[in-house]
């Protein structure tokens, strides 16, 4: 299209050369100079016409016309800066919001995972149909893993621990806290990662009690080992045990675990493998198909002795199938992100409705201009083209500013998000995002340009030249329809964000069950062979808490496996051993604690007693349960004195504490049946397993802020064990905030969009009414002259905006009734049909509508009837 064409002057030169040649030929035949020139001209025909035809045949003309239109359009936009700025800002905000959200969608759902051939990688979903149905990615137990590994030849399969855990690494004299991932043999093969030096884990190293080996990632190898090329075969002290380094991963090699180093998982059906504690990933072997793989998985897993999915679900049917890893990794965030994309789409529609209204008015105002151009011979197509070009210019301008807006919005958003919240490295504004923005801009220009274009088709030459009247009743109704539509969408957004706000309020005002003020906590990894011995573990806790109590200002110090608002380990099959519930099995969150735990956190003991120093390894096994546990399993009867698992006596009942759910994850925060046991009564087998998954917390309570508290806590721990660093310090308030971070971001984003929608709707109503006032100045003047009061005139004018908004409100409420049911799974403590929310939406919208109507109608008061009538 942009091929270099001849210039017009070159063409003229050629014609001139032709004429010269002809003239010379005629002169040779004996004609005079003058005669020769005339003859040459005659033979040539019309020079001008030839040049014109050349010009028209080239694409120059097309560009010239386009360029003319663009320049004219720019002049028109510049002459009307109020209109232009309003439109560009509206577009920038709406397109910017869309671009920002889309770039997240792009990074999460469209960008490929950073592995080789990610489309051949999968995760296994479990679909249960029956009285209790589910369809989700499950973790695997040891039996499932062995069957998957040995009986599914279509796949290369691997498992890992569910997440990387913090451990202590001793290299030389330094102790370093690192994230370690535990992976099976072939895990790196599934990811198609090959170490730059050394090798991946062998099958022998992945067997239970196999040799202890480790693979380092590039960063750790460089930072902790100075990129030593002779690292292979060296031993590092990890979790207190020697591990031989067998490989180093290439720079930038990503795994789902994002760990600093990897050790062999050594999975079995015992211990960790007796529960579903492994996460699997698979890669399709060359030549195999996914249906083959799925058939093999279903066959293999039907051979299991333990089919836990079917427990307490009589008549249920279970089916396994592979899902692309990309989808499985992002499943958690997909609904939220798509909801936001939908909301952003609403914003774009609302903006379009506004802009359609504005451009409609503009086109109507330009009726006489259009009529003049038509009268001067412009074709209707040329007029239409002019309008479309102006719309396109506005849309592109808006899109360009929108990219800037989205860049800022995205930076703000990523600051809001907790670290590692998004399972991707970054959210780029890449080519695909730019393409989306361009497409959105073009779509917007079509959407908001369509109505005015249609309206301007009907300009009647004679009547519009003659009269100065502008928009008729038809266009008013059209604009009211647009306003009603955008208000309806705004209502849906307002209601949705209102419900999410109510959910957040519910979660934040849940009684915590403890006193978080003045609590500082610190975690340390006890996943170390030294602390597998219960006596060493007890000593560590006793000495470190005793040392912390010596810190001036510290009132209490304690240790617990988990804190309130966190998840903890779940114990199933707790047998109730006496009373009428004897033989029943219970499932409960389980937390080991030192005696000071309830006192430090100020969790009220409702019945019986707290743990004491006397509850030790050789004494009566004891437990404390929370109120929910007591109510659920003892039905209100006193729990104190009852026995669990034959020999464990319940000695106390405490208040429920808000926890991140483990048993039934319906809400981000809830109270579950909980059992507390003394840390001093833990067995070696339990300690080694629990500390793979969880880092216990040291808790201190201070009356007022203590200078250098964390450093003093660290030295207190060092006095008990000089080689044990804390992995982090957390103010209890921060921990609580982090638990609800997802909800807070969701609320912030949706509320921001709802506010934007509300703002745009208000602008739309304002523009409608303001335009009415401007158009009807004369009519109002007459009304007032005939005895109407200013108030009556204002009501008369304002009615147009109010009635449109009212219609939109009703339609919006009806839409919400249907649409918001899809949000049910994101709502806690509030129903979909929540009267306060609906009331608030109605009130907010009414207030905004009235404001947007009254402000422009105030101009009615300034209309001077005498003046307006004289002007006619």
């Amino acid at each position: 299209m942009f091929r270099r064409k001849r210039t017009a002057s070159d063409f003229s030169a050629e014609i001139e050369a032709h004429l010269q040649l002809e003239i010379e030929r005629f002169k040779e035949q004996g004609l005079s100079e003058e005669q020769a020139r005339a003859a040459a001209r005659r033979a040539f025909g019309n020079v001008m016409q030839a040049e014109e035809r050349f010009y028209e045949s080239s694409r120059w003309l097309w560009w010239d016309h386009l360029w003319q239109d663009v320049r004219f359009g720019l002049r028109m936009l510049a002459r009307n800066p109020g209109f232009t700025v309003t439109v560009v800002l509206t577009l920038a905000l709406s397109i910017g919001a869309n671009t920002a959200i889309f770039s997240i969608v792009n990074a999460l759902l469209l960008e490929s995972l950073p592995y080789s051939h990610p489309e051949r990688m999968g995760a296994i979903y479990t679909q249960v149909t029956g009285p209790v149905g589910s369809d989700e990615r499950h973790h695997l137990n040891g039996e499932q893993w062995e069957l998957l590994r040995d009986n599914v030849p279509a796949l290369i399969s691997a498992v890992s621990g569910i997440r990387a855990s913090g451990v202590n690494l001793e290299a030389g004299s330094q102790v370093q806290y690192v994230h370690a991932g535990r992976i099976s043999a072939h895990y790196l093969d599934v990811l198609a990662i090959h170490p730059i030096i050394g090798r991946n884990f062998s099958d022998a190293e992945d067997r239970p009690h196999g040799p202890k080996t480790a693979i380092l990632n590039y960063g750790l190898w460089r930072n902790a080992f100075g990129a030593n090329p002779k690292i292979l075969g060296q031993t590092v002290l990890l979790k207190g045990e020697p591990y031989a380094v067998i490989g180093v991963l290439p720079e930038g090699a990503a795994t789902p675990l994002n760990a600093d180093l990897y050790t062999a998982l050594q999975p079995s059906r015992e211990g960790e493998g007796s529960g579903t504690n492994f996460e699997s990933i698979t890669r399709l072997r060359d030549g195999a198909t996914w249906p083959e793989a799925d058939a093999e998985i279903n066959r293999a897993w039907s051979l299991r002795t333990q089919r836990y999915e079917l427990e307490n679900n009589p008549g249920a049917h279970v089916m396994f199938y592979s899902v692309p890893l990309q989808k499985a990794q992002t499943a958690r965030l997909r609904p939220q992100v798509l909801t936001l994309l939908l909301a952003a789409g609403f914003i774009l529609l609302i903006a379009c409705a506004n802009l359609a209204g504005l451009t409609l008015v503009r086109v109507m105002r330009r009726t006489s201009e259009v009529a003049t151009r038509l009268a001067l011979g412009a074709s209707r197509w040329q007029i239409q083209k002019q309008f479309w070009i102006e719309n396109l210019l506005l849309a592109l301008l808006g899109g360009a500013v929108g990219i800037g807006v989205s860049f800022l919005a995205l930076r703000g958003l990523l600051l809001l998000l907790p670290e590692h919240f998004l399972p991707v490295a970054g959210v780029p504004l890449d080519g695909r995002v730019m393409g989306f923005t361009l497409a959105a801009s073009l779509l917007t220009s079509v959407l908001f340009g369509m109505l005015p274009a249609l309206a301007s088709r009907n300009v009647d030459l004679r009547s519009s030249m003659a009269s100065r009247a502008v928009a008729g009743g038809g266009s008013l109704r059209l604009r009211q329809g647009l306003i009603a539509g955008e208000v309806a969408l705004t209502v849906v957004l307002l209601a949705a964000s209102g419900l999410l706000i109510r959910t957040l309020v519910h979660l934040e005002t849940l009684p915590p069950g403890f006193n978080p003020n003045g609590i500082m906590t610190a975690k340390a990894s006890l996943d170390d062979v030294r602390f597998h011995d219960p006596a060493a573990f007890r000593n560590l806790l006793d000495e470190s808490t005793a040392a912390m109590r010596q810190i001036p200002g510290v009132q209490q110090a304690a240790v617990g496996l988990s804190l309130p608002y966190e998840r903890t380990v779940i114990t199933g099959g707790i047998a109730i051993s006496d009373g009428k519930e004897a033989g029943q099995k219970a499932m409960a969150d389980t937390i080991y604690t030192t005696p000071g735990y309830f006192g430090a956190l100020q969790i009220p003991v409702l019945a019986g007693r707290s743990f004491t120093e006397a509850d030790g390894p050789g004494t009566q096994r004891v437990a404390i349960v929370n109120q929910m546990f007591a109510r659920k399993f003892f039905h209100g009867a006193s729990a104190v004195g009852r026995y669990l698992d034959k020999d464990t006596m319940i000695v106390g009942v405490v208040e429920n504490v808000a926890m991140a759910p483990g048993i039934d994850p319906v809400a981000p925060l809830t109270s579950e049946e909980t059992m507390y046991v003394p840390a001093a009564q833990m067995e070696a087998r339990q300690l080694s397993l629990l500390h793979v998954w969880f880092q216990p917390s040291w808790i201190v309570r201070t009356a007022r802020p203590v200078e250098g508290l964390t450093a003093q806590m660290q030295s207190a721990l060092a006095s008990a064990d000089p080689n044990l660093p804390f992995s982090g310090f957390y103010d209890m308030k921060d921990l609580m905030a982090a638990t609800l971070a997802t909800q807070r971001i969701e609320v912030a984003l949706l509320a921001a969009m709802a506010s934007l929608a509300l703002l745009l709707s208000a602008l739309g109503i304002f523009a409608l009414v303001a335009n009415m006032v401007a158009q009807r100045t004369r009519e109002i003047g007459i009304r007032i002259a005939l005895g109407s009061t200013i108030q009556k005139a204002m009501i008369h004018i304002g009615r147009s905006g109010v009635s449109a908004a009212a219609l939109g409100l009703v339609v919006g409420l009806i839409l919400s009734a249907g649409a918001l049911r899809a949000m049910r799974s994101a709502l806690y403590g509030v129903g979909v049909y929540d009267a306060p929310t609906i009331l608030l939406v109605v009130l907010t919208l009414s207030a905004v509508t009235l404001l947007a109507t009254i402000v422009p109608t105030l101009r009615v008061a300034r209309i001077d009837p005498a003046k307006t009538l004289r002007e006619e």
Partner: protein, 118 residues
């Protein structure tokens, strides 16, 4: 001042000018005026080529890639734009002339043998 003779020249049929230009260029590079003169002379002045119409046609052929153009000097040392037949132009010429011959034969058959004017 057009003569009687000139008036009786045949106007070109639509699309034949392109063919004639291509044919003319078979003999080597030529400028516009030369092409016009050659067509007129080889048709023994039977065909009327308005020189002005030639240039849009040349323009079109150049855009199609059938001829290429370059500024040069004419026999009598004047600057002129010379056109050359390209490989694609040669093919086009063969195609077009075959088509034209078949068309002429077919029309000739329909019109029948030339009637003698009595």
């Amino acid at each position: 001042m057009p003569t009687r003779e000139e008036k009786e020249r045949l106007a070109l049929l639509q699309g034949t000018l392109d063919l004639l230009i291509l044919r003319t260029l078979v003999f080597g590079p030529q400028h516009g005026q030369g092409i016009a003169r050659t067509i007129q002379q080889t048709s023994e002045d039977a065909l009327l080529v308005e020189h002005g119409a030639l240039y849009p046609a040349l323009q079109r052929l150049e855009a199609q890639g059938w001829i290429a153009a370059r500024w040069g000097t004419s026999a009598n040392n004047r600057k002129a734009r010379f056109y050359t037949l390209t490989q694609a132009g040669r093919k086009q010429l063969v195609k077009e002339s075959t088509r034209w011959r078949r068309l002429a034969t077919a029309i000739g058959r329909i019109l029948g043998p030339e009637a003698k004017e009595g």
